[in-house]
Symmetry: none
Subunit: 126 residues, 4 copies
DNA sequence: GTGGTCTAGACCACG
DNA sequence: GTGGTCTAGACCACT
């Protein structure tokens, strides 16, 4: 459970946790069936209240990433490799679709957008 | 003045107004020298208080998109075609850069991202 | 805001509130654009904490029934009469679909299920 | 013993087991006199503790669906075909009665509800 | 004033 | 032990 919090992002705690768990599931660090640590343990480890942890877990469950069982704990949801792949593609597609819509609304052409994308790819973090 | 508010974005009202005005200036619906409606009229039309409208106008002025003259109203700031073009490209680049970073973090290749982008371009609003 | 709580149903408070608001929107007692009372006022009126009220409102927003604006309040979401009608039909269809699946799994015929349905219709609360 | 657990229903484990056994008895997959697997085997297969399995078995016995004999195991209780039929009808009637009440509260007519029911019957799992 | 987030506790049913 | 719900406060940005 590699989790950390930063105050500089401006994102609420529960969102940071959601994003990190989400990333760890999508990139395979967490696999189907893996047990998550109890929310109280996570809260204690991060020195925060259980509320933001619980909220992050809730949203992960609503998104189909995890399953929770009262009295038993929370587990990474069963997911086939193809479904995982499809999920990754669809989340990336969502992001790119937003950006595409914005670029179109600005009157850019697809070619221009593609050039900007490959530029951004070449120089990340710029 | 095509303006609307939505609760689903989670963005504060002043930000939604800022974004929409910004987009209308960048895509040419609003041109240099065009007059903006009085903030009270906008507030009335949207059934909100003048506070968020005023704040949006202030931030647009701080960003150099509009100019305000006490007693005369607010106007789209003069901007050369090249500057407008550069602004558009830089804002589009920001969006695409975000999306690119996300896709990279998911392990996608540039080619895959470009395919998703052109797919999104072909079927907008999907 | 005709809301009440009962301990005898076994349902959590937030669920009772959700169901009641939902019903009032679907049957027209609450109309598009209507403002909801502040969550703190509802909590006070019902002598409960704001937590369950907020949760009910959150789920109503997630379901598309209401929209919330920070600093401004919550409002019944804009919804055309047809959309409302479609929503009602789809919620009823969900319930009936569950029941249908259950009856099928028990080996009942459609005719038998329809007879049971009309029996239940004739003698409600039995 | 086709048993599975899901976190998405929100139902406690013992309830899910109870419901599934119940359904298998009512639809004939399990017949009077059939032996149930030992609770420890079920617990192991599902990777859970024996506690919820034991509780499910207890409630099935209390409901008259199974009989347990210390040292010999548990068996589906003898039940006449008519009694089974009556049970099925009454459980189906309960489900349909719930759905009927909900549809009525939404202002639907019986005819509309019957149409939705037959639609759901025609396209299950949709 | 509003809703959004969070703290620091509590009690409950479930395992 | 676990997660689910709730209380009674708090601070924040926004209106």
């Amino acid at each position: 459970m590699d989790l950390f919090l930063t105050g500089s992002s401006g994102l609420p705690i529960y969102r940071q946790l959601f994003d990190q768990l989400c990333a760890q599931i999508l990139d395979g660090r967490l696999k189907s069936g893996d047990a998550l640590p109890p929310i109280r343990a996570v809260a204690k480890e991060l020195s925060i209240s259980v509320i933001p942890v619980k909220r992050a877990w809730e949203e992960l469950e609503a998104a189909g990433f995890i399953e929770s069982f009262v009295g038993r704990g929370c587990f990474i949801a069963p997911m086939s490799a193809e479904k995982l792949q499809r999920l990754k593609a669809s989340m990336a597609a969502d992001k790119l679709s937003d950006a595409a819509a914005y670029c179109r609304s600005l009157g850019l052409s697809l070619a221009e957008a593609e050039r900007l994308l490959s530029d951004a790819w070449a120089s990340p973090g710029e």
